[in-house]
Symmetry: D2
Subunit: 336 residues, 4 copies
């Protein structure tokens, strides 16, 4: 299986390559970039030693064509055009947002420009998704925040034990913002600081969370989402809550919901920490009831670059190609 | 004004001394400790050079007596006994939890043991508190989380524009946990990781938040509180939200609420970051409306050791003694 | 190949298990601990999900016996007794210091107690070592600092282009100190701070560095070594220098020295950063000449827990057992 | 005393303003910037609340004129032109490199362009400097690395107990690099990583260190200098060593050398950590002898933005103006 990666000099591209280097069934073909085209990969990804001397090509359809699988880790709005020309036999996996949203109005409001359409959604743990991924040639990889929020709340909404009105605060490492050269992402600004952004429901991942949860709940779900930037390179810690509508054994509901999932681990004795998921494709989560506040509270930890992006892409690729779903992925984190 | 500090080798004690060294009206007298008694302060607080050679005395009433002001930064449950013997003429400022809660049942449930009584509460920004602090000889310094959560939500509850049912997620630096030698507080565990604890309404600061907000709202306020540990030594970033009951100009409500407060700064263009408050007594906050979720969302940043503990103690001392409230304190943080 | 790990709840033990979980030729047998015996591994190593429910046994010879390979990640001084009883057919790999030093006087001065003897040294990149490791049943894993310092300076000393008098400053992450519950290792103390320790030639790794370099140089090498603690969980960045005795093409000398080494990568365009080696068994290094100071300067980066400890152990095991040397190891780091 | 700051939106400018806000004898006048002119200071320095609404003017001589003191925190090469037009009655304090080097050839080699001349050097702790600063109208503020290296080695060179051939490795926080938008300074790259740069004697602070030490030693001093970037916003930890030429009581030599210095503190029981100096103007250092290596080893910690830049500027201003040298400065750090 020959694969290509468009956007190989960024963080998502780097993580894709890290995982693909350890995948037994793939051979790494073209690596492309935008402004970094013409330079060796080693300059941008010094941790990928086996590919250090590979020179980045331009991100064009020609360079990406001729592979069995093409991963796109491009800025939002760039995938559709590339995908169209790659033909229906190529498996195209889009790590950007272009093909995630179903609703045309959502797309117009949150992203704008022409809506490129909706592809099978690479979060196989949500009901119905795994089936749609099987054999598909087009995959939309979920956003990192929606992955945590959706997995944290889906079992409760599916069980109908909470109101369809959820509050989510997600603490994220800085790599979620990519390699953008912005002052607030400088190490000097980030270290020692926690800061909020996209407050008041203005973050673009909000409609994606609502879409996922609404499908699971069978009704519109109201989502209050606040992202927080924390001084760490990777990791998302999601805290999610919703008012309970009935008394239930939430621990049992969550245990059962994920009993057969290879990458979702329900903790029993401790609360999730992102460090335990570093570099792994695992989500560690736990749910409980706050009896005073009559709310379900769920905490989920994951690596935004692995399960939150590149790991989900590889996992979905495995499903699409009929490979064992866990091939090339691990639940073992790099800690401490 | 001669002051003494009980618990001078801990983080709260160190921050008290840092501030008091810059306070023009105080002279630093006895410094006491528990297990560290007999050792020089410099071994535990290498940043307090002017006091490096001071030898720590035992935390006994005898050693603390004879001062105009005694700050207690002791483990919970230890302040009451000491305070009792210090006499009514000494200003005793308790940084612990012993004298914060009003309700006997709350005390029994969350801390247990004999309830030592309730002292004027050192959060002068909440209505009525400043008056009670004036001239008092006993002050209960608020917990660090309740400071952020209360200041974030009080204006809205006072204005009656939200339901008395709030959700708070607070991201904290590690110094909030003190110098406890526990594995999960080791640098190797903390760096690169965000983790939740006290999930499901089990953190002891929950009833204190509810008490503050209930007094402001004039009714019982339900509080869902989740603390998150982030990889930074200091700082609390509070995200708080509640369902709106009416359409209001929340920015104006917050601006007016804190217009005369020297230490609460309402941001207009940006969202708070804890780094901007490092070492300062300022709270930086901002409120907005999430129109899709029909919720008020407020974000507040503060330094848990300064405004969250030692700064509040000094600010309250100033009020109690009739000094200008801002003496020895600053709104200027140490950044980057 | 059944393996056992003694000291499985510590950082070295955890890293051994992380690597061994990905090793195709081993099956993980007994896991033992000291004070943590009787508790599940998941409590101490939440990143090792596949082993989360394994209960730690006591570190006794009985529990460790009956395996093909036994890794010992015990406090210094505990390995010898265990190893003695395991019998000559078991491959015993000691991650502690007990069997590294050759000189009895060195042992007495730096560690004391009975000298347990000297085992083949698990740094195959130094001349002669790989041969001694082949087929051996006893391996002494190098210290993390000696690995960086030795690889940084060996080619120059072997080529005879520098005086046998070297200066080394190594910046290390905190996991090198293990899970010791000491105040200076708390996250609050470590984050935002760089600090020196073991200054003036007092760190126990000093004689090990001198031993390695002396063997390579064929003469006594004087080592001035200063370790520095930096605010990161993992990684060692070694800066090493020595006065040049002749004009040479040091870049060529280093390139040749490591041309055939799978885990030592000589950089050409950039200087090493520890992040690029996180979780990998690679050493990234580069040498240059300071013409004004007439010194060779070398910088080397590695992960102290992987190539610095557990990776070296697995690499050496592979050699000892006749497996391909790179089995279960990678040169790909987890970054950013 | 009315002061102006040129370059107020950068890190050095921000630190100058933080200190000057607490200086009892100054009034803050014009604040200027390059590309950020026209924007409010609060956008760039959210920690300087009292100045948040000040709008940055262009960095022109007109805007800076008419003040008693002008601080220049400009890119290298920009100060000379501005200073020339400010007139001889204005105290001009240059935080850049333009006026530090004495030797024309050094200037040509390391910076290039026209040499603007040499001003009194703002490191009063070196012999002769304090006298030259008294009453001066022009001050060159030292580089951050030279401050640590010079204070670490000057006493030994002055006492003649070491060879004039020194090795210095300095671990620095990222703010030393300023607010430059470069990929390697992004938080995602910096956190969790130590990296070397300017290796092999290529860092521009090298000739400045050599100049300082040469003047003290009365002979040419060879300097091998390696800077290391560590994951912290502030702080420099310098490790410096040199071969001893005679047996001496180095601890006594250092104690005496700095006995009367208000900002240099010689530790006796512990080794320096940068966190203890955060935001303070103190240097904490300690010297020892490595008997095996026959070397003096010194470790010094300071805050690169305070004593390393802005604090030195204020300290030197105090001397130049005849104010008490410590006015507006502290030896108390903000820790943990």
């Amino acid at each position: 299986m020959r694969i290509a990666v468009g956007g190989a000099s960024g963080y998502a591209g780097g993580e894709l390559l890290r995982l693909l280097l350890g995948h037994p069934d793939v051979e790494i073909g073209a690596l492309t970039a935008g402004g970094n085209a013409g330079t060796p990969l080693g300059r941008h990804q010094p941790h990928l030693l086996p590919l250090a001397d590979r020179v980045l090509a331009d991100t064009t359809t020609e360079n990406l064509a001729g592979h069995d699988v093409v991963f796109l880790a491009l800025p939002h709005g760039h995938s559709a055009a590339v995908a169209k020309e790659l033909g229906p036999d190529t498996l195209v996996i889009d790590c950007g947002a272009d093909h995630r949203l179903v609703d045309q109005d959502d797309w117009n409001r949150w992203y704008g420009g022409e809506h490129a359409g909706t592809w099978p959604y690479g979060l196989p743990e949500l009901p119905g998704n795994r089936e749609k991924l099987t054999g598909t040639k087009r995959i939309a990889v979920p956003g990192c925040y929606p992955t945590g929020a959706s997995l944290a709340l889906a079992p409760a909404l599916l069980a109908g034990i909470v109101e369809p009105d959820v509050v989510v605060t997600s603490v994220s490492g800085t790599s979620g913002a990519g390699k953008s050269l912005k002052p607030h992402l400088l190490g000097s600004e980030v270290m020692g600081s926690a800061s909020a952004y996209g407050v008041g429901g203005t973050h673009r991942h909000t409609p994606e969370i609502a879409q996922n949860l609404g499908r699971v709940a069978g009704t519109t779900v109201t989502v209050s989402f606040t992202p927080v930037l924390a001084p760490m390179p990777r990791g998302i810690l999601t805290t999610a809550s919703a008012r309970l509508t009935e008394d239930s054994d939430v621990e049992e509901i969550y245990r059962e919901a994920y009993a057969d999932e290879p990458f979702v681990h329900v903790l029993e004795d401790s609360w999730p920490a992102t460090a335990a998921t570093l570099g792994s494709n695992a989500v560690q989560l736990r749910a409980t009831v706050d009896r005073d506040a009559h709310r379900l509270v769920v905490v989920a930890a994951l690596d935004n670059l692995t399960k939150g992006t590149a790991g989900a892409a590889v996992q979905s690729m495995n499903i699409a190609l009929g490979l064992p779903e866990t091939t090339g992925l691990t639940t073992v984190g790099v800690a401490p």
